[in-house]
Amino acid sequence: MDEVVPFLPDVAHQRAVFADGLLLDSGAMLAPLVVAYETYGTLDANRGNAVLVCHALTGDQYLAGRHPVTGRPGWWENIVGPGLPIDTDRFFVICANVLGGCMGSSGPREEMTDNEGNGIGRPWGTDFPSVTIRDMVRAQKRLVERLGITRLLAVVGGSMGGMQALQWAATFPESVFACAPIATAAHHSAQNIAFHEVGRAAIHADPDWCGGAYWREGRLPAQGLSVARMVAHITYLSESALTRKFGRRLQGAKAVTFLEDVFAVESYLRHQGSTFIRRFDANSYLTITRAMDYFDLAEDCGGDLSLAFRNTPTRFFVASFSSDWLFPTAESRAITRALNRAAARTSFIEIASDKGHDAFLLDEPEFHAALAGFLRGAADAAGA
């Protein structure tokens, strides 16, 4: 990319600031802690109808409605809303930008602070401390407490959001009545770490990354971040979905000429890459992919995942998609079996879909019906 691509203009996100900060798993103290968030629906008088949605790697707090930065619909607009599976007529829905993100929460794009918590007039960049999925969850816990909620009716998330949902249930079992980890895993696999590393390597190799200080130079590592997004996007789809959508079609031509041919799938990926760089910060991408790679819930309990959920009062809904090879059904089945070993009340289904990992974001009526039924059942049981 030759021309400098401007980052989309920032907007005033709704934020909760915690001056006392958060002690991270790495041992670093992050102060103040800032959590940007959105809410939908109304909190009832008993504060018992709150559903926390955790977003995936490149998602954000804007679940539904028009995204204030990109102008596009929210990423789970088909799930969250009046009469939808996460019914905002019944539930008070919270979604927070993850720690390390770039939509207003503490992260590499935000102003760096000194030991006294005072801003020093430059972004954190690569000086932002390493964070873990558990750090993200602890930050969300602070927000939930600030909103006056002791127990969440449900924590719901797909992909990295599912990792957070599992971590919530493991870390704060008494605060999670129901937990829905979707298209996720209890640890990041070697293959997934490998794909992340390709993305990070592409960012590192971009001269515009400037060792992480692109903000100082007024540049954007557009090329590197775009390649990272392109690689990642392939992992979100399935072979059959790519074939169905693009096949071997050429962009703007009928036959291969061996000159400047572009397959439709290439054009699609380039578009995905070029729109991504305007809304996502490269250093955030590095920070969050690392957090996912570190995630291994069983490791925290001597390798036995069921111990993470021992005597859990939480009920679970585990779902996977048949063509998802990034977080395959075997991972969800492993979670389910660990929950069975812990004698947890668990539902598990694999949805037949050819849409790959992205299916959890798309129109999948059976998944939507099952999630809606699970939440309805949980709300009835909890009296919410």
Partner: protein
Amino acid sequence: MGIRPKSEPIRPKAEPIRYVAKNMRLDLRLIAEMIPAGAKVLDIGCGDGALIEHLTREKHADARGIEIDMDEATRAVAAGLAVIHGDADADLAHYPDGAFDYVVLSRTLQAVERPREVLRQMLRIGSHAIVSFPNFGHWQMRWRLLSTGRMPDTDTWNRPWYETPNIHPCTILDFVALCETDGYAVDGWLAVDERGLRAPWRRGLRLANLFGEQALFLLSRKT
């Protein structure tokens, strides 16, 4: 619920197939009568969760299920029930000892890969097991085989030998013998006809083995 259509989709070879002719309502009612209020129950092969729903609503039981058919499992989950997609052969091993008061296997024993191991697992994870199965010793079976020399084709055993999912049929006496061998106490039993109605051969296993179309057993571990 009702009886599943005969033309169900063809499954991949490796996947175990469960017994198909379920005429469940009366059968389930008999099972439900055996389960006390407030019990922890696992229903293996729970279909769309009718028994679980009934036990939860009527008896305030903590009832959960395993179902091999994805469409039925999805329907059960969408109804808010704690049902996992899985099968008796592979998934029982992942439950802890004594996790349930009652483990139910309704008209499925003859369709699992390893019935003896499934029974062992049921009585490991539950204090009691409730097992129902179609009786291969019924007089019609004996008569068809004797008179025609062909595999019986009855209301209960209605699939040809080359495509039946019922790979491990047994008679009532066979089942009692296995319970004896493996040390399970028979705390109760019923022989019923295909519609699930109680049959009048209450006292004799040998008569039940001749006239009972379905058998229903309540087992526990011998102490």
